[in-house]
């Protein structure tokens, strides 16, 4: 029992450390506030007119976009973990932590838990902006809550993906390049920003089966009351699958990296 109690308190101590980093690094703070707001405004006011024409009648681009862009932001919210871990490795802080009688896994669980908090903050910022420019929830309170929980779970899953990227990168800069060249395009070839049926026919099957599409469609279903089909379950299955793969993979990578 003592082990579990220490495991929890160590995780909380390190989650707090991870969170304190954000307000103190102006670039991260901008990444979590100004950048998502800017993207929402750019997409709505620049692409909204054109894309809106391709949407089913009765659906505005703001309503269509907000769930999509929130999924994308939340996926990248875990980036703090990748940057933080790569930085800790580079500066030798990991050695200090590993020489302490703390729970060793707390280094990873603390960071990923910290991400849940920053992701919650992101959700508040983005929903607020959305509501200001005309977004409306058109589903039950229960569905909205379920949607928010699903988003946080998605964010948590990608924290583990980013933990793996951070541990596999030689520097924070490399982690940055790696994350953005691989993940960024994948989030675009999905239903996040445009309806999939406007894409070339060869790209449509890829976009339709992109897990991001399931996640975005699930968020739309839960926030807008659009029929969910299997999207919520598929999104949940993918999310849990990603955690099941990347949490152990990150733990394994961590043990390998530090043993050198």
């Amino acid at each position: 029992m003592t082990g579990l109690r220490y495991g929890i308190s160590d995780t909380l101590v390190l989650a707090k450390r991870s969170l304190l980093r954000i307000p103190r690094q102006p670039d991260l703070l901008v990444g979590f506030t100004v950048q998502p707001i800017l993207f929402v405004l750019l997409f709505v006011y620049v692409f909204g007119g054109a894309v809106g024409l391709a949407l089913p009648p009765g659906l505005t681009y703001v309503d269509f976009l907000i769930p999509g862009i929130i999924v994308q932001s939340i996926v990248f919210g875990g980036f703090v973990t990748a940057l933080g871990l790569a930085d800790d490795l580079k500066k030798g802080l990991i050695d200090r932590f590993r020489s302490l009688p703390m729970t060793r896994s707390a280094l990873l669980t603390g960071r990923t838990l910290g991400d849940v908090v920053t992701n919650s903050f992101q959700l508040v910022v983005m929903f607020s902006v959305g509501l200001l420019i005309g977004f409306n929830f058109s589903s039950s309170v229960g569905e909205v809550v379920a949607g928010i929980l699903l988003l946080l779970l998605i964010g948590y899953a990608f924290s583990w993906v980013f933990a793996f990227i951070g541990l596999s990168s030689s520097s924070p800069e490399a982690a940055n390049a790696f994350g953005f060249t691989i993940l960024f395009p994948i989030t675009f070839v999905s239903s996040a920003f445009v309806p999939v049926d406007t894409m070339p026919s060869w790209l449509q099957p890829i976009a339709e089966h992109n897990p991001f599409t399931y996640m975005v469609n699930a968020a739309r279903a839960l926030f807008l009351g659009i029929p969910a089909e299997n999207n919520v379950w598929l999104a949940l299955a993918w999310t849990l699958g990603i955690i099941a793969v990347f949490a152990p993979l990150s733990a394994w990578k961590y043990r390998r990296v530090v043993a050198q």
Binding site: V13, L20, P101, M102
Partner: protein
């Protein structure tokens, strides 16, 4: 004082691929002493410290720290050690106080203890004024002091300092030396690695000289120095032409044959006490006038050169750096 050694290793080996960082290292560090591990870059010092602090598993051999096996009882070892220096570090995005408080919490000190201990350490390392500043605004010397403070949060009985003053200017270096000396007087066992011979000479009770993964000499600083020939009288004569006569006259007081070098007579002596007077008397009897006379003590630089065949700090292999 405990009788069990604070650190004991037996035939410790570690390789990174083809690079043999440690090739069978035996160390024995008495409780309450300062032990210096001296060697050039890539000699295996950092690898040894990483194994002793449970950061790295040895390939072969065994090591005990504070009585616990570093492999089987790694968690116990971590409760009894502190690590600072080259690779241990502090978080730049936290304040000095937050860094120490966090470390205290991760050592599982009781409620309220981490904050109290943090304040106490900040005060004793002269960092109270900077306690609430982010560490990224600290100077190099301040960071190292904070790093050392972080290693001391839980009052560990065994402290590992891996090249604690590397990269510091001479003033910060002396400040850190003073801090380490103060610690030792409190009974902490310190294992310190260094490439700086003065540092080992000044701080360590015993020194192991390590080169290419092997301990090539061990002893007190005085013992190591005596291996190079002990102390020596350097005598400059008024008339350099009479050097050979002086060599003959001084043979009876020398521990080894006197010789001529740079216009001076060099006389190896076993015992410093009384030898100057003896030398003056001998030369006076022989009617040879002395211009100047002095006693020179060999430095650890001399020891290093003699033991390894190469000077310290210059020809260090980058094995460890490459392996990382």
């Amino acid at each position: 004082m405990q009788t069990a050694p604070a650190v004991e290793t037996s035939a410790l080996r570690k390789s990174y691929g083809n690079v043999h960082a440690l090739r069978g290292v035996d160390l024995h560090v008495e409780s309450g002493s300062v032990f210096g591990l001296l060697g050039p870059n890539g000699a295996g010092k950092t690898t040894a410290v990483r194994i002793l602090t449970t950061l790295l598993l040895p390939d072969e051999g065994s090591a005990r720290v504070a009585g616990f096996d570093v492999v089987r009882d790694a968690a116990k070892v971590r409760e009894h050690i502190g690590l600072a220096g080259q690779y241990a570090a502090v978080d730049e995005n936290l304040t000095g106080f937050e860094n120490l408080e966090m470390v205290g919490k991760l050592y599982h000190l009781g409620r309220g203890q981490p904050a109290a201990r943090a304040r106490e350490l900040l005060a004793s390392f002269d960092l109270s004024d900077a306690a609430d500043r982010l560490v990224r605004t600290y100077s190099g010397g301040m960071r190292r002091r904070l790093d050392l403070a972080a290693a001391l949060v839980a009052r560990p009985p065994v402290l590992f300092l891996d090249e604690p003053t590397t990269g510091l200017d001479i003033r910060s270096r002396i400040e850190l030396w003073n801090a380490i000396e103060a610690l030792v007087s409190g009974g902490t066992t310190v294992l310190l690695t260094t490439q700086v011979l003065d540092e080992a000479d000044r701080l360590a009770d015993r020194i192991a000289v390590i080169d290419q993964g092997l301990v090539i000499a061990e002893g007190t600083p005085a013992e190591l120095k005596s291996q190079v020939g002990g102390e020596r009288l350097d005598i400059h004569l008024c008339d350099e032409q009479r050097g050979e006569e002086a060599v003959v006259a001084l043979a009876s007081i020398a521990s080894d044959r006197p010789f001529l070098e740079d216009g001076s007579v060099r006389v190896p002596v076993a015992e410093r006490r009384g030898t100057i007077a003896d030398a003056v008397r001998q030369l006076d009897d022989a009617g040879i006038a002395i211009d100047d006379i002095s006693v020179s003590t060999p430095t650890l630089d001399d020891v290093f050169l003699k033991l390894t065949g190469h000077a310290a700090e210059h020809e260090g292999e980058e094995a460890e750096a490459q392996a990382r």
